[in-house]
Amino acid sequence: MSKMSDDKPKFLIKSGKRLDGRKPDEVRPMEMTVGVIPNADGSAMVVCGKTKVIAAVYGPRELHPRHQVLNHKARVRVKYNMLSFSVEDRKRPGPGRREVEISKVLSEALERVVLTDRFPMCAIDVFVTVIQADASTRVAGLNAASMALADAGVPMRDLVVSLSFGKSYDEKGAGHMVVDLEKEEDNWGMGDVAYAVAPALNEILLLQMDGDLTPEEFAKGRQMADEAAKAIYDMQKQALKAPYQEGSK
């Protein structure tokens, strides 16, 4: 283990200010770009603070192995993967249990918004690659994945907007809800939630939590996340339009 991550901070939030200076309801600076992988049918890069992910979509295309073919709709298959050097201690290449689980919940989140019945027997493959990890990689990956699908022209009910929220302790040990967790908050926080919504449909598509939260705390966090999601949703739409706007290449 590396040295830094062994030292528990005295607080994660103090007088309404987080370790990196953010307010509780403030997300990290984000950057979104589509079309970053020319070979792919659609692609997107999302940078959120020090977390950086790329999603590439191939499909709809023929599905292999054939026994997985669904006669009435396409399969949305997400493969979440981390570069070996995207984390502090080298990650062994290849998917472990964590990657397999994340791939599953991300596939399911996207399955709901993609009009899969338009492409029976096909696969829509989404490769989510974490280039640099500083917490909240699955939600950044999901944001990128939904943008990559839109960039590929895959018909969808809505974009998926995703972010994390959780509970951070102050210098007295009391919990405060915060959105978009960074590394220290993720490591030491009192609870973290991976959350995704389809804003136009008002539906929740991803929900995972560990830690302990009261229902009231969850409601507060979710409300903050929904508010932050609006800005992310706008950024996604902006980034998707950018290549078609005047002055762009």
Partner: protein, 256 residues
């Protein structure tokens, strides 16, 4: 997969001394090198050669030395043909293409003694630094070998050593360079008809009879790999050596 028409177009162009993308037989595509792209890595780089782009990163970890080399660290090179980079790459454990790519890059960099592994020893026979160099294509359009070697070298050249303090690895505020003794580049050719084109695109590789990668270190050949199910004529190999030495000078400039 490539259509018969496109394959013919490529062969005809090469036969008349040019390429479908307008290059001459002995021209590389534009090269771009960017280092320090992943802060979590001890060293990292992205390299693009035309439409091919790869990312390379170094992680330094503790390990046990090989019994026959108790005072030397170890450099290990891996490559994964990430499925995001091309629609014919599949997820899953590396197959023969990825393993060949990794081993050729490894041979060029490791066997040439690029890293001074004698400086990576912590306790003889017990504890040494293991450098993991991992290379991933981001977008594959041929010649992953040369892009991979260049990215690997650029990452190594900018890599910083973690410190070993109180039996722990400290990766904060690193200053000391990873010991690099030599600079290596590789130059890859594809045989199409009677011509040997340098820096082949993916389509060119697909119509080619054979491929040849030449690793060059300070004016010497350090690694060779022939690929493809066709053959090379002896005079082609000699020609490739001469041209590889010439190209290596230009490629080395990207490592400065």
């Amino acid at each position: 997969m490539i259509s018969n028409l496109e394959a013919k177009r490529i062969r005809d162009a090469v036969a008349s001394g040019t390429r479908t993308d307008g290059r001459g037989i002995d021209d590389f595509r534009p090269i771009k090198v960017e280092t320090g792209v992943v802060a979590k890595a001890e060293g990292s780089a992205t390299v693009s050669i035309g439409g091919t782009s790869v990312i390379a990163g170094i992680k330094m970890n503790l390990g046990t030395p090989f019994p026959d080399r108790p005072s030397e660290g170890v450099l290990m090179t891996g490559a994964e043909l990430s499925p995001m980079a091309h629609n014919e790459f599949e997820a899953g454990p590396p197959r023969e293409d990825a393993i060949e790519l990794a081993r050729v890059i490894d041979r060029s960099i490791r066997e040439a003694g690029v890293m001074d592994v004698s400086k990576l020893c912590i306790t003889e026979g017990e504890k040494v630094w293991m450098a993991n160099l991992d290379i991933y294509p981001l977008n594959a359009d041929g010649n992953l070998f040369d892009a991979g070697v260049l990215a690997g070298m650029a990452a190594l050249n900018t890599a910083k050593m973690p410190e070993y303090v109180d039996e722990q690895v400290v990766r904060e505020n690193l200053k000391k360079q990873v010991p690099v003794a030599h600079q290596v580049v590789s130059v890859t050719f594809a045989r199409i008809g009677d011509a040997l084109v340098v820096d082949p695109t993916r389509d060119e590789l697909e119509v080619s009879e054979a491929r040849l990668t030449v690793g060059v270190c300070e004016g010497k050949l350090v690694a060779l790999q022939k690929g493809g199910d066709g053959s090379l004529k002896p005079e082609m190999v000699e020609d490739a050596f001469k041209r590889a030495l010439k190209h290596s000078q230009k490629l080395l400039k990207h490592l400065k």
